[in-house]
């Protein structure tokens, strides 16, 4: 009996992150993200930086690679011909290759450790890349936007972060979004 409990504990300690990770991304939410990501670019000042294609960077840890790929697929499925005469170029990148996202208009950030997140956001903001995280908790770290998953799902916008990175967004977008204020509980 003691041996069984011991092995179970060992199993939980070893596989807990993967198990948690797999269950923390909701398909419906990802679907919403896949729809709003290109539109957020076109409804912000980021559209002025578009050369030929809209570049979207999906940043993830190794653990979330499949989920990230799934998001890329969703985006491409939702916008097979691009959007508003723009082709979409979705880069699926590990946080370690964050430099690939330097010229992107928007970077979608899957969960990662706090430090990595801070560094990534800092680097992306420095390059005026619109940051959007899956989890709203990263608003504290200065991510520009995420989704508010409450009774209703609405964009969640960090105005302070946007101001700091010098990105402006469309008024209509602001109207439908929840505005993150410093100190909001997540």
């Amino acid at each position: 009996m003691i041996n069984n409990v011991f092995f179970l504990s060992i199993f939980i300690v070893l596989f807990q992150p993967a198990a948690l990770s797999a269950s923390s991304y909701d398909d419906d939410t990802l679907e919403i993200f896949s729809k709003i990501i290109p539109r957020f670019i076109l409804m912000s000042s980021q559209k002025t930086t578009i050369q030929n294609k809209i570049e979207i960077c999906i940043l993830h840890d190794k653990l979330d690679e499949r989920t990230a790929s799934s998001l890329v697929d969703r985006i491409q499925n939702n916008y097979p011909n691009g959007i508003k005469n723009y082709k979409l170029n979705v880069i699926n990148s590990d946080y370690t290759d964050i430099d690939l996202c330097r010229k992107s208009q928007l970077a979608f950030l899957f969960d990662t450790d706090e430090k990595n997140m801070d560094n990534s956001i800092r680097m992306l903001n420095k390059n005026t890349v619109f940051t959007m995280s899956y989890d709203a908790k990263y608003l504290v770290n200065g991510v520009d936007a995420t989704l508010f998953l409450g009774r209703k799902v609405v964009p969640y916008i960090n105005m302070r972060a946007l101001r700091q990175s010098g990105i402006e967004i469309d008024n209509t977008l602001v109207q439908i979004s929840k505005i993150y204020l410093q100190g909001d509980s997540k």
Binding site: K35, R39, R151, K152, T172, Q175
Partner: protein
């Protein structure tokens, strides 16, 4: 009101008119408020639909259906006048519906007050993603319209009634003046047919009315006076005319009558002869004349004087006149002691018989007595001529023949007659 002056009446009329204008202005003001309300309502509705459309469009495009539903629910709650809401996507499927009142009970119009709709565009791509239909409560609008209608009816009703009263009053005034003018136009001073009496009115119309009546009374007086003068003048004219006619008759008589014997004179004889000569010529009738001369009349004048001679002439004239029986027989003093008898349609032997009758009548008078003068007998000589007038003969021919016959009778010893016929 009859005592109120025209000036005051005009002021009252102007006040009524001003009331009407103010009423009309009030109506326009009220109408403007309604129009402004309508425009305001339209603007508000448009603002609402313009505000919500991009958000709805964005929510649809982002796939935030729950957020959309909550947003629209919130909009419905915030807008009390929004009764019904329909959001239809581009395929025609209803995405969202909210109704406070069933759509069937809402009058669907496109006036922008009760109903508004707009296509929903994707704010990013501009694609049509659906249509939104809004139905609004318009009871405020209806209430305002009803109020405006009520005010309008009241204003125009009252103004109309007041103006009609004024118009009727003015018409009555004109009727009074019309009757007055008709009476004046039909007035004939000879029959005095002016029937209007003095008015108690103290206004200008009353003053004019009474002034006309006063004038008519004066005209009546003058007309009577004029009639009397005319009558008097007519009588005088008639008298003068009669006198003139009498004078004319007298003159005519004097011009045609011998003043001593009262027989026709020579001028009258000429006229008579001329007339019957033409008549006899046309009818082929014989005319005889007897020229008579008193024998030795010069001696009577010389012996007893002309006064006695005149008495003799008068007596002889009467004898001659009485000797003629027919009305058509004509006798005239031809001159001095000569007389002429014209016998129309008389043969010479009849004329001779008449001479015989005259001689007998002269014989029947034994004495001619004139005051103390007594004449034993007076005889006459007669020259008779007879002609049936034709185209070549003249009545002077008849006289010449008679004259010749008289001359012959004188030559034959007087107191006889000689006949000459053509």
């Amino acid at each position: 009101m009859r005592g109120v002056s025209i000036e005051l009446k005009m002021i009252i009329g102007l006040i009524f008119f001003a009331v009407f204008l103010v009423g009309f202005e009030r109506f326009q003001f009220s109408d403007n408020i309604v129009q402004q309300f309508i425009e305001s309502k339209k603007s508000k509705n448009k603002l609402l639909i313009d505000t919500i459309s991009p958000i709805i469009g964005l929510n649809i495009s982002l796939g935030l259906n729950n957020a959309n539903a909550e947003y629209l629910n919130q909009i419905m709650k915030q807008n009390n006048d929004l009764l019904n809401f329909d959001l239809i996507d581009s395929t025609g499927s209803r995405i969202f519906h909210y109704e406070k009142v069933p759509l069937i009970e809402i009058q669907k119009t496109v006036d922008g007050v009760r109903y508004a709709s707009q296509s929903i565009k994707d704010p990013v791509t501009g694609e049509n993603v659906g249509t939104v239909y809004l139905y609004f409560d318009d009871h405020e609008y209806q209430a305002m319209m009803e109020k405006n209608k009520e005010i309008t009816i009241k204003i125009f009703g009252i103004s109309f009634v007041v103006l009609m009263i004024f118009v009727l009053f003015i018409k009555r005034e004109f009727k009074f003046l019309k009757r007055l003018s008709e009476e004046v136009l039909q007035y004939d001073p000879h029959i005095n047919n002016f029937t209007l009496q003095k008015s108690d009115r103290t206004d200008e119309v009353g003053v004019i009315h009474n002034a006309i009546i006063s004038m008519v009374t004066k005209i009546n007086g003058y007309a009577t006076l004029l009639d009397d003068l005319n009558h008097s003048l007519a009588v005088k004219v008639e008298e003068r005319t009669q006198e003139l006619q009498n004078a004319n008759l007298q003159l005519q008589e004097l011009s045609l009558t011998d003043s001593l014997t009262h027989l026709s004179n020579r001028r009258s004889l000429a006229i008579h002869l001329h007339d019957i000569w033409e008549l006899a010529k046309r009818n082929h009738i014989v005319i005889s004349i007897i020229m008579c001369d008193i024998d030795h009349f010069k001696q009577v004048n010389d012996k007893y004087g002309h006064i006695i001679g005149d008495f003799v002439l008068k007596d002889i004239a009467n004898i001659l006149k009485n000797s003629l029986k027919r009305k058509s027989d004509f006798i005239a003093r031809y001159g001095g002691e000569e007389f002429m008898i014209v016998l129309y349609e008389t043969e010479i032997h009849t004329a001779e018989e008449i001479c015989g009758t005259i001689q007998n009548n002269l014989k029947d008078i034994d004495k001619f007595e004139y005051k103390e003068v007594k004449l034993n007998s007076i005889t006459m000589s007669f020259g008779i001529s007879s002609i049936t007038p034709n185209e070549t003969s003249e009545y002077n021919d008849l006289i010449k023949l008679a004259d010749m016959a008289l001359y012959q009778a004188k030559k034959n010893g007087r107191n006889c007659f000689v006949s000459i016929t053509e």
